[in-house]
Symmetry: C2
Subunit: 321 residues, 2 copies
């Protein structure tokens, strides 16, 4: 298997073009705009890696990878509208720059364009690809809806949060790998193991993301440290803390959540540390990483072919070894 | 070919079910809600008619018809958000009832569900169906964008308006018929004639819709008579009137458009009548109807098979003969 870096370059060369007609420019310039903001392209490269785990590189995998990246950007455009987010990666969001109605439509045409990419494949797996792709697309929407529901819900259980975050962020990585595997001719059980590998890496990544919000180095963490705490966002940390605190700590935590004291972040983090939420999160992340490695181990191909996937997992989860 | 009424009943029996999972109900109840508001189901029944023009009824046509109706409802949900419409057919719009974010997501899952329906077909035409379907989906979005652009644009030419309205409303009817024809095994030229038949009927229908807004019987017309005039909407009538008026009439028309006098509708309609805009619109509608009949005539199947399509055209265009 080629390395993430090589496949990433290969994908960028293919993806770095205009994906839409010129006219009406009021619509398609808005759609094209977000594609230039970029990103790590982890999901589309995962399609290529899932494919190369079982077969040699071919054009079909690039089409499906493109579809996945278009879908991801569709979800970003619409999520940003719902979240009223002014910026993404330091750039104006599509609705800020072009207005909400155009952003809504730009997301819509992006979703259609993703299906057009899938329809370019020559493989006889078109229907199988469409089935997994559409199921996943709906799951991502379900995850976004649950996320919004939970904002209004006082108590969210760990189980509910895990389900939401799996749908909202992990299934797309998992499906990307499996879509590649389907195209590569993998059998059902190998497909399933690869899917679960991606799902577990995705969950571990989200635990890390929640962890870094509270405990990350402000220099390295891309977002505002404590952002989740300031917005009372349900996270792995908060949900666990609410059950791990003693009555005094819990009372203090709840008071902090209700108010907006200037030292809110520092005091919530202090409670997290008192209850060892940081250690708990670290252990949980490790657990999902180990499960992912086990999934990968079960796949019936030579270990040598799997090395780049292990490297990807380590890179995403900031592991040196 | 079975009659519109028979096929309509057949479609309703198939379509009248829950199209989404139960959970999360916050998302899927919103999506299901709009499907119950109903409508004439002209587009999905057109898929069945396009199919029966060339072949005997089969299940595949029902799946594609369902996809078309889901797509249509997706576009209604998102258009209503953009237009900030409180009601549709006397019912609360989805965003009024469930909030904008949920309505946005409900539209998204509806669009995905439409592709899932298409993917149920057993025919080997899946890729061909997807190509036409996706092209049409993008065109409908383009039409909506142009419609919004034109609201801010002082001068809209008849050519521009015709293009917008074709994309926004006619191509979906045209594509519905052609999708049925593809499934039915029609050759390319027959497909094209049927598409053009649908497109021309769609344009004639829109001319009639614009006409009825100004000249319709308030008892029979479903919407508020003069609604287009009150909101200064560009219509076939207004665009033609601006070029057909003499300088004095044009001056008065422009003043009326700028203001909001209580007798605005009556005075604009009076100017329309002075310039014979009503006769002009009637003639234009006839022209598109005649073109549609000519398209239908060119299709290489027995005339007897085409009768129900002529009946449909007459029904849509309120013709007795």
């Amino acid at each position: 298997m080629q390395s993430f870096a090589t496949l990433s370059k290969l994908f960028e060369n293919h993806f770095n073009k205009r994906h839409f007609p010129n006219s009406p420019s009021t619509l398609y310039d808005a759609a094209q705009y977000i594609l230039k903001i970029g990103g790590k392209r982890v999901r589309p490269v995962s399609v290529l890696m899932g494919h190369e785990l079982f077969n040699e590189f071919d054009e079909d995998a690039l089409h499906v990878a493109t579809a996945i990246e278009l879908f991801h950007n569709f979800s970003l455009i619409h999520d940003d509208i719902m979240d009223k987010a002014p910026l993404r990666r330091g750039w104006e969001t599509v609705h800020t720059k072009y207005g909400e109605s155009t952003a809504l439509l730009a997301g819509d045409v992006m979703l259609v364009a993703a299906y057009e990419e899938i329809n370019k494949i020559k493989s006889n797996k078109l229907s199988e690809i469409l089935t997994l792709y559409s199921r996943t697309a709906k799951e991502v929407c379900e995850g976004q809806q649950l996320d919004m529901d939970f904002e209004k819900q006082l108590n969210v259980s760990m189980e509910e949060y895990l389900e939401m975050i799996t749908l909202k962020t992990s299934v797309l990585l998992a499906a990307s790998l499996q879509l590649g595997a389907i195209l590569g001719g993998a059998g059902e059980s190998n497909q399933k193991y690869l899917y679960d590998f991606g799902k577990n890496i995705g969950i571990a990544f989200q635990i890390q993301d929640d962890y870094l919000d509270a405990f990350g180095d402000p220099e390295k963490f891309g977002k505002q440290v404590g952002g989740d705490i300031l917005s009372n966002k349900k996270t792995f940390l908060l949900i666990h803390a609410l059950s791990a605190t003693n009555p005094t700590q819990r009372k203090e935590l709840e008071l902090l959540l209700e108010g907006n004291e200037p030292d809110k972040v520092a005091r919530v983090v202090a409670i997290y540390k008192e209850c060892k939420v940081d250690q708990w999160a670290h252990t949980l992340k490790e657990k999902y990483y180990e499960m992912a490695l086990k999934n990968l181990h079960e796949i019936a191909v030579q270990d040598a072919r799997k090395q780049e996937l292990i490297s990807l997992a380590k890179y995403l989860l900031q592991r040196d070894s």
